[in-house]
């Protein structure tokens, strides 16, 4: 059989998607719930690959978009929980708002605490879902318009994104009466849409996550395969050349930055459904940096590679964490894996896979029977 690069690429996607869809046949509900969280992290890996690998924008604040998506849906789910309905009001009130309210304040969302009216539209889950995408995209758009129009690039973009996520985290914690501060949003209800209830330990929640991931992977891959995606990669390689070819560089960068933010916001929503909480830790610096490590190990130039990198690292971490002594060593292992990937595997695990793919293609063509996956070929390969 004649093998082609694109054929093998497609086969890899199909195999991966089949694998995650078949997982419920093997795993019990507890592990299935864990796995659904890792798939969400895989989605974050894909989002990092879009911005870092394809656009050349190293965002050290991806957690901002993830956190915004998470809080948006968590607000709706908080209002849908049984405790919110049992606060002695006709309409649901988050329990923590009563704890933070002035004595004698009316138990109405409009005026229980300052700013609590912002919660009113979240009574509709559709509003929460919409905001989970709209809020990250709006912030990414605003940030992109300023940063990329000003032709800020490289490490400075990283520093700005890093500052913004920390700023947002601070605001979130400070706005205790509105957000429950450090404690985050817990005791959430289940999302119920179209008569389907998404209990995190039921297979439908897993399937929602798995199908979402499959769609995001295919969608992101198609997006970077479009002409715009090609132009984006050209901009990453040499933005000046692209400008002089007539491309409005900041627009391209902003568009794909927004696409990455949308994926992250969506991932944040799914994570809340699987884990039943939203917390300011989503906007911790360490979390955003961990995402970058996942993508680096998996292969930042590969959407699927970065996704698999995230899932693998988290699965290994979960296994390792059963043994306390290994848990201590885990951070060192992850750090070393990152250094190793940067030094020896600039294209991550996906680079190895691409080398193998090219070797298979060459073998099936029979034209170059001596061709082995030499490092140079890996270097140039694309997965």
């Amino acid at each position: 059989m004649r093998l082609t690069k694109s054929g093998l690429n497609t086969a890899t996607y199909v195999a991966f998607i089949a694998l995650i869809l078949a997982a419920p046949l093997v795993f019990d509900p507890f592990w299935l719930n864990r796995l659904s969280k890792y798939l969400v992290f895989g989605m974050l890996g894909a989002a990092i690959a879009v911005s870092w690998g394809y656009a050349g924008i190293l965002n050290l604040g991806q957690g901002l978009f993830f956190g915004l998506g998470a809080y948006a849906i968590a607000m709706s789910l908080k209002l849908a929980s049984a405790t919110s309905l049992a606060q002695g009001s006709d309409t649901p009130i988050p329990d923590f708002m009563l704890w933070n309210a002035e004595p004698g304040a009316p138990t109405e969302l409009c005026c229980i605490t300052k700013g609590s009216f912002l919660w009113i539209p979240f009574q509709s889950p559709w509003f929460g879902i919409a905001m989970g995408i709209v809020a990250p995209v709006a912030i990414a758009f605003g940030l992109g318009m300023v940063v990329f129009r000003k032709r800020i690039s490289g490490v400075f973009v990283s520093i700005i994104t890093l500052s913004v996520v920390l700023l947002m985290r601070l605001l979130l914690v400070q706005a205790q009466p509105l957000t429950n501060g450090f404690n985050g949003l817990t005791d959430l209800g289940y999302l119920t849409v179209l008569g389907l209830e998404f209990d995190p330990y039921m297979p439908q929640t897993y399937y929602l996550v798995a199908i979402s991931l499959a769609l995001v992977l295919v969608g992101a891959r198609l997006l970077v395969e479009t002409r715009s995606g090609l132009i984006l990669q050209a901009i990453r390689d040499d933005d000046r050349r692209a400008r002089f070819l007539g491309f409005d560089v900041p627009r391209y960068q902003t568009f794909f930055f927004c696409a990455s933010a949308a994926i992250s916001g969506y991932a944040g929503m799914l994570y809340v459904m699987a884990s039943e909480f939203a917390s300011p830790t989503f906007m911790d610096l360490s979390f955003s940096i961990t995402m970058v490590v996942w993508a680096a190990v998996g292969g930042r130039n590969s959407i699927l590679g970065a996704c698999i990198g995230a899932i693998l690292i988290n699965m290994i971490e979960a296994t390792v964490s059963e043994t306390p002594a290994l848990m201590e060593a885990w951070r060192v292992v992850i750090g070393l894996a990152f250094v190793f990937a940067v030094l020896f595997l600039p294209r991550g695990l996906a680079g190895l896979a691409a080398g193998l793919r090219d070797w298979l293609v060459a073998r099936s063509e029979g034209a170059r029977p001596h061709a082995a996956p030499i490092p140079a070929a890996e270097e140039r390969g694309r997965a």
Partner: protein, 258 residues
Amino acid sequence: MIQNPIGAPASGAALTIDGLTVDFAGFRAVDTVSTVVEAGELRVLLGANGAGKTTLMDLISGKTLPTAGRVFLGEREITGLEEHRISQAGLGRKFQIPSVFRDLTVRRNLEVAACRNPGVFANLRLGFSPAQTRRVEDILDQVGLVTRQEDDAGSLSHGETQWLELGMLMAQDPKVILLDEPTAGMTEAETMKTAAIIKAMRGRHTLVVVEHDMAFVKEIANRITVMHLGRVLAEGSVADIEANAEVRAAYLGAKGIR
């Protein structure tokens, strides 16, 4: 000497430069330069290092903002526009240090340049039209990179990189093309091939070429503009320039163009 303001562009002019000046904190790198490049012409910019040739190209293409003066592309004024707007108006530019998309294949480089519509939403589609594909293949053939089309641009030799960038300009297909030292660092054989490519571009495009290689200049030039210390020293045919005493004194040396 053409240093008086020209005013509105004459019809038939592809590129009109009118009193263009840039002042870098007191240093006038380009000083009231005016010239008209006719449509279809191949103009060579000559001058010693520091004469302001590259800076003039930067001013025309929008990389640097002029302190005074105006630039017209055809009838349209392009002074002070952003680089991509000037490019969209019909100006292409090749840099002195070859500038290509190193991590994309040679073919992909040309495909990017052939995307005629600059908008991000307009380009949200897969693949290229048969006409675009044919055009890319023609260009690959013209610049002699057919066998390297699937290789990353970063793996090309210096000469091949220059040809690829010329090919990208062909794919972009602007009315006016600025070429900054297209033969810099090339072997004699490579220079000859480059001359052939540039000759093939003539007619379809109006070209302004900065060049030092005299044999090459005599081979390709219609008219020559000589710059010296940021000003236009002389302008004319190859013969005029060879005969010009001022040019000899300032730049060519006693022996003239050989």
